[in-house]
């Protein structure tokens, strides 16, 4: 098990390097010059040139990348071009709210998706099954921002039930909970459908398996047959598929944070990219990619926990 985790961590190193390289190159391709941005609209070419030298932007690309890696290795993510705040400091302040939002989204959407998918599979072909599937297809097709806007318009604005801008405080306070409700509903809402659909397929598959027949022949109650023998085994493919949806989740987080003004990494990333704040954009890319790798690692560990055959190999 430990070996499994270490191996996975080692494979994350080249992935991370690739992420850094691609992030670096992407920002070079963008047709904006950070030195011009920093200097402001009134600056003379001399000033811009001085800033460019100051930021090291006059060096060859490979040298810029190596310097960047070297600083990164020392924990220095650079300073924001826009407001001179250290990137690490900004990231530190935004990671918490992003994690909070993700947790609040997953903590209800995963159990609900599992439940809907399992019940739909068990009563395959029923009205409930068809309703869940229609809901799932809708969930896959409706974009996150649309769900968010509808919730903001009705629940937040028209009916004035819940706040829809910013974070209300720590999540364990009433204000904090109220503020996170709509963003978490939005981000989790688009996740329920895919999970329900995957769970339904996986449970249907397992329900016809020989060992489920054995469980019934043992005289187990139907509830136990479904929980311990159908859903338990179906979790293995479902967890794998959830792992594949992580990019979707992170992308959704960026959009959700932006429309709800949630002070997280996603909104920071969008702001940084829009204002050509290169160091900040690179910092957010690193954090989001790290998030991707970490969640993938968690999924991998879960996979081994769920399937003894993986543990052994």
């Amino acid at each position: 098990m430990l070996q499994h985790i270490v191996r996975r961590l080692l494979t994350a190193v080249p992935v991370m390097f690739g992420v850094l390289l691609i992030g670096f190159v992407l920002l070079q391709v963008v047709p904006t010059d950070p030195a011009t941005v920093r200097a402001g609209p009134m600056a003379t070419p001399d000033v811009i040139e001085a800033i460019r030298r100051d930021l090291g932007l006059d060096r060859p690309l490979w040298e810029q990348f190596l310097r960047y890696l070297w600083r990164l290795a020392q924990g220095d993510l650079g300073v924001s071009i826009i407001n001179n705040v250290p990137v690490a400091q900004e990231l530190g302040a935004t990671i918490g709210p992003t994690l909070e939002l993700m947790l609040a989204s997953l903590v209800w959407s995963i159990p609900l998706g599992l439940l809907l998918g399992t019940v739909a599979a068990y009563w395959r072909g029923s009205l409930f099954d068809r309703a869940v599937m229609a809901f799932a297809v809708a969930g896959v097709s409706i974009p996150v921002f649309f769900v968010g806007l509808v919730l903001i318009w009705y629940v937040g604005f028209k009916w004035q039930l819940l706040p829809f801008t910013g974070r209300g405080g720590p999540i364990w306070t009433i204000e904090g909970l109220r503020a996170i409700a709509l963003p978490a509903l939005t981000l989790g809402g688009v996740f329920v459908g895919p999970i329900a659909r995957m769970t339904r397929t996986a449970v249907l598959d397992v329900l016809s398996a020989d060992h489920v027949r054995t469980a019934r022949a043992k005289g187990l109650a139907e509830r136990l047959v479904v929980l311990r023998h159908a859903l338990r085994n179906a979790l293995i493919p479902v967890v794998t598929l959830i792992g594949l949806q992580i990019g979707f989740l992170l992308g959704g987080a960026v959009v959700t944070e932006t429309i709800f003004s949630w002070p997280g990494v996603g909104r920071l990333a969008v702001g940084a990219i829009l204002s050509s704040d290169f160091p900040m954009a690179q910092g957010t890319i690193i954090v989001l990619s790290l998030g991707f790798i970490v969640i993938n690692l968690i999924v991998d560990i879960l996979y081994a926990v769920l399937d003894p055959r993986v543990r052994a190999s």
Partner: protein
């Protein structure tokens, strides 16, 4: 056959709903087995023998259902029991093992846990006691070091070991009847022999009755006291093993015997029964075996033959029985 039967299946009919209407997979089968005895049910794939066994357990998968008949077990009709009571019969009074030991155990739970689960479903004991019973059950099926084996997962065991685990699980609650559906088919020959020996020994120890479902006549010959031959959802011949093996009266039974390779036979071809079992949605008129039968005549194509006595306790469903008369 004087003893009151433990299991008495009466005229059971199990149908499957298809786009072509309801088709019978088991069509009016009556069979019985006495305590401590072994009934062998033989037939080709698709003859309905597995559906019959699932019907007894009321585990026929959708879209199948038991349309009519009775399954009397110790005098009670299982088909009339509420689901809750039926559950206590499954795995309690009647144990069942299946063909595929590779897939019949849940791959994600340790084997001991799976046996304990069966014990806890039927007996009011603690987890620790259930563990003890599981270890004892594994010891009874001759699994070495059962204290260690309980922790292992199915993929860590060989096919023969897994089938032993299945047997241990089925017998953990000391059932009166064991239904074994092709218990040795997926195993290689030496393991087959071990499993059959084990079943016989366990039967001697516990006095349970066995319903042994197989397509393998060799297995039946070795194990069964009574034999029933099924074809296309119906029993075509039934009687004491010695009578059916020594004096088969149905052409289908004779055909099955003809397709067993013999060491003393010098011919280099096996006798095969031409054709295949007709599917339940396309049964021929008259005797269901008539299109494949060497002895069929005009009557056989019109009349569905009833089971009629052909010897002591020995019945067959053939209009042309006894076969000696045809040969003469």
């Amino acid at each position: 056959m004087s003893e009151a039967p433990l299991l008495d299946i009466r005229d059971i009919r199990t149908v499957f709903r298809t786009s072509a209407g309801e088709v019978p997979a088991v069509d009016g089968v009556s069979l019985s087995v006495a305590p401590g005895r072994t009934l062998g049910i033989v037939g080709e794939s698709g003859c309905g023998k597995s559906v019959l066994s699932l019907s007894v357990m009321r585990l026929v998968p959708r879209p199948g259902r038991i349309a009519s008949g009775q399954v009397l077990f110790q005098g009670r009709d299982l088909l009339a029991l509420p689901e809750g009571e039926m559950r206590s019969v499954r795995g309690g009074a009647i144990g069942m093992i299946f063909q595929e030991p590779m897939t019949s155990l849940n791959p994600v739970h340790p084997v001991g846990w799976q046996i304990e689960e069966a014990v806890l479903a039927h007996r009011d004991v603690s987890r620790a006691d259930a563990r003890g019973i599981a270890i004892e059950a594994l010891r009874r099926v001759r699994i070495p070091a059962p204290e260690r084996r309980v922790e292992e997962y199915p993929h860590q065991l060989s096919g023969g070991m897994r089938q032993r685990v299945m047997i241990a699980m089925a017998l953990a609650c000391q059932p009166k009847l064991l239904i074994a559906d092709e218990p040795t088919t997926a195993l290689d020959v030496t393991i087959q022999a071990q499993i059959l020996d084990l079943l016989r020994a366990l039967q001697a120890e516990t006095g349970m009755a066995i319903v042994l479902i197989t397509h393998d006549l060799g297995v039946v010959a070795e194990m069964a006291d009574e034999v029933a031959v099924m074809y296309a959802g119906k029993v075509v011949e039934r009687g004491p093993a010695a009578a059916v093996f020594g004096d088969a009266q149905h052409p289908y039974t004779l055909g099955l015997f003809g397709s067993i390779p013999r060491l003393d036979d010098e011919s280099d071809r096996l006798l095969a029964i031409e054709g295949t079992v007709p599917p339940p949605f396309n049964l021929p008129a008259g005797c269901r075996f008539n299109p494949r039968c060497a002895f069929a005549d005009a009557r056989c194509r019109e009349t569905l033959p009833p089971l009629a006595p052909v010897g002591p306790n020995h019945i067959a469903a053939c209009l042309r029985a006894p076969v000696e008369a045809i040969a003469a």
